[in-house]
Symmetry: D2
Subunit: 314 residues, 4 copies
């Protein structure tokens, strides 16, 4: 359970309050508000606030005085059109704010997406929690042989056990030493009289990258979709992908029409190069084409052929 | 009146709806929601949506599980501290969306603030409204003698009358010719059979820079404050300053604590250079200091002396 | 000729100087440096400065201590790989700065690309030039019937002549009245004694959107490519597209490998939705597919079929 | 020595080449180009490329056809004016690119500055170096008593020795276990036959936050100055401040006029609130003012009084 009893109580208190508003409301997302969705062994994602619904996109695209919406299918048609033609500005008119707890090595990938607002828990100011990520056994994968950035087969037996032992022991030791250097525990109690204690901004450097951090992260819809297209992708590292997948579920509750368009045009779609398009035209015309004839590199050819496999065989 | 009857009806319809939400609500801002605030002769600003209240800043600064707020004066103290020390990230956690109608030459200044989301009415796609800005008589100012970017005395008599005549006639003529080139009126009716009509994306080039445009504009609080510090300043052009001043009133309703801190630390404050600070230390010590001794340029010295004038004499 | 004799002389003076540098140099771009490339009737684009060559992309992708390059074909393979997989950060490591003169209605489209640095000639501070855009006869197009944002057939005969007459006369009159209101000519001479003259920041509102403005515009390569993918596209307005096309030529001189990859993967490529990909798999398998079976809208189906037309018939 | 012999050789090769360019050249910066400046125990900063000199700021501010510069003192006056009035866009016209090696916990602070281009060494793709930061004895500071984010007195004797022992042993052990889990050494040699080896993207999580990473970091001058105003400040953490101070030296070589203006208006300057300004006016008028009368909080009052101390006593 990622939250303490006190934290859970704070969340419950927030969830009980309801106030009237003239703003657009997304009822299916309201159900989820403030509630942590557990991820990995100690992480979570919580929706803290949001602005807009599907109709806010339509309203902005039409620079409307009222809601801007017409018939449901006209609105969906407009959202599809905007998504297909990459008219991105109306999607910037929705905004969402999350509270996220995640391992530091994942936070370091995440922060590379610059067009977002971030407020992170400060290890200069506060004492870090004793929580670190230990992968589940089925996630202990070997280095991929074909992709220098990916994972291959799952480790087994003694090798797997040894990895888990290292990760657990080293993190526990790093945290024990962190407290010893601070001369303070998580509640701010002095551990040993007569000692001074190292500054927090220094002591934290002994923690390993699997320790959890947390932040408030706020982003507009256009940039969220860009984040999801990269991080919910099959090539993303598992530990960030499951956050992205949880956000896809949140997106579906928040903006069902946009979610459907996004799944069709981005997540399920594919980009063809000029050479790739030329190959496809020839294949449709019934010609045989080989990699050598295509002008494509071997890697690019393989990727194209994979994307053209019948759905069942992928 | 900047809105048509139909547009006013759309606004009223929006204002009548109220739905329950678990999100933070700013009641004083809700009162204003969707309502156009008239500015200049045909412009307006309307708040369309917002995210967060003063407590959202506190909540993010504390990376809190609940509302994050404590006693009212502790929260205000924290907001003051963050403002004073330019800890800007918590202020990015609030967001506001406006619908704004404004003259094109002002829109061109406005858009220079890049960190915002914008959806503008498209003159490629739609026919522009017949609305152009004519300054009020007391705004017909001469070029400033002391400041190459500012205004001086107000024009009078025949010269003022002639300026107004030029602006009115030229804009009316530009619009009449715009319609003639389009061969279409604002409702899309063909004006003259047998003519083809020029493409909208071309015809619009005949309109002058005082024609009104409109857009949806969404921005986070930190960047809004930066915009206001530049555009609500006495040196800003009058026609953009009155929009900024209207936004200051909106800010006061939305986030009263932040508004107060902003007025104290930014709008009413002043930046001293190292040389300026050295002068002030000597003045406090009772020394006489001249511009020549200060190492400052004449312009800088004059600005410093102006900022130190007794409040009553400014 | 877009430059005065004095301006041409300034350009020549710059072009004559050469200094040694340890930085990477792109010789084919150096040839062009500072030289205005004329566009439209009074516009131009000039390269003022640049940072990096193709090898800077490779160097950053490899976080290298030296040049980072290996064999020419390995480097090209890496750039192709980065472009294909949208690894965008190495492309941000090159930068280019332009001086551009362009009509205001085009500047308003252009500035929507926010991730760039801009310094525009100020109409608050300076007097605007007497230069306005009049389209060439073959650009006087009607509104498109199929695309609400596009152009259709070219206007002819009396209608075309009348459009040109309106545009010329209205712009000339707007400028004459601008000078009259300023009571000043372009060289700052007072026109009529005893008159005060309207402030520049006000008088400029009488100018129409086809007047030229100019700016320094600096952008990193990744964002430049994004700009070009939208503005060198066949659907972009002609008056911005020719600037984008000139920049494609500049890109080819500056970064030939990146230019080739960009033409293949972006300009000549196409994005398929999940539905579009499913249709293509069925077409390759020799099935007949209709729009109704595809689940696609009519517009989307038409766009897909157009992209699959044999190269010769497009 | 932070570089291997091979890396040093690569740097030397780059430094030996010189080519002619028409671009602006900053000779004092050229001397430094590519050369690593050692920082902390294993870190460095190297200038890889730059765009512009002081005159590029002047040129853009004047939207000039030539170099844009006039007399040296006029140019300096303009740069001072732009800095004083926060006309930031001309400063965006210069750009600089660094290669930086720094501890991960500092990289995490650094990356919070979003308006920059970054290419980081990838621990998913490559094996991390065995280099970690151990503070010098005089940097082993206690937590500050007055400032929850700062450092206090230096640790001594056994406590200091124990901290260094912990940091060294834990980091060495973390790295040894990292290699064991990878089943690979830094040169990619398999350590033990029959074992599979954990994926790099997972094994790296065992490394602690004092391990070094490296990146290419490119930023425009305006955003660099903002970074420096925060990170070269006395309140910044020592381990990032010394990078900022090295960059101030680089700035002085690159853009001496801008550097001087920045030191006067930003680094040596101070911001006064409306309340602070009112206090100063009263002090200059010879009145006594107390914190209670000032309307300021105790913290704010203390900060104001500190900034007004005679230079000698600070």
């Amino acid at each position: 359970m990622p939250l303490t009893a006190e934290q859970s109580q704070e969340v419950e208190t927030l969830r009980e309050e309801r106030q009237p508003t003239r703003r657009e409301v997304a009822p299916a997302l309201e159900e989820l508000l403030y509630q942590p969705i557990p991820l990995l062994d100690h992480g979570f994602i919580r929706v803290i606030d949001y602005m807009g619904t599907d109709s806010a996109i339509v309203q902005a695209a039409r620079v409307s005085y009222g809601r801007g919406t017409r018939k449901v299918n006209e609105d969906a048609g407009l959202i599809n059109y905007l998504m297909r033609h990459r008219h991105t500005t109306p999607f910037e008119m929705c905004e969402i704010k999350f509270h996220i707890k995640l391992p530091i090595f994942i936070a370091r990938q995440w922060i590379r997406h610059r067009t977002a607002n971030v407020n992170e828990y400060s290890g200069r100011y506060s004492i870090m929690d004793k929580e670190f990520y230990i992968p589940a056994a089925e996630q202990l994968a070997a280095q991929s042989q074909s992709n220098r950035q990916g994972r291959g087969d799952v480790l087994k037996g003694r090798e797997a056990a040894r990895v888990l032992e290292i990760l657990r022991k080293d993190a526990a030791q790093a945290y024990a030493h962190y407290g010893e250097m601070l001369n303070e525990d998580m509640d701010g109690n002095i551990l040993q009289k007569g000692k001074t204690g190292l500054a927090r901004e220094l002591a934290r450097m002994n923690l390993s990258l699997n320790f959890y951090t947390q932040w408030y992260w706020k982003i507009d819809l256009h940039n969220l979709l860009h984040f999801l297209s990269l991080r919910a992708d099959a090539h993303a590292q598992y530990e960030i992908r499951i956050y992205a997948e949880a956000m896809l579920d949140i997106l579906k509750r928040w903006l069902p029409v946009t979610h459907a368009a996004f799944m069709d045009y981005r997540m399920g779609g594919v980009s063809l190069s000029a050479k790739g398009l030329a190959v496809i035209k020839r294949l449709i015309a019934g010609e045989k084409v080989t990699q050598e004839q295509s002008g494509m590199s071997k890697g690019e050819w393989r990727e194209l052929m994979e994307s053209l496999q019948p759905a069942g065989s992928g």
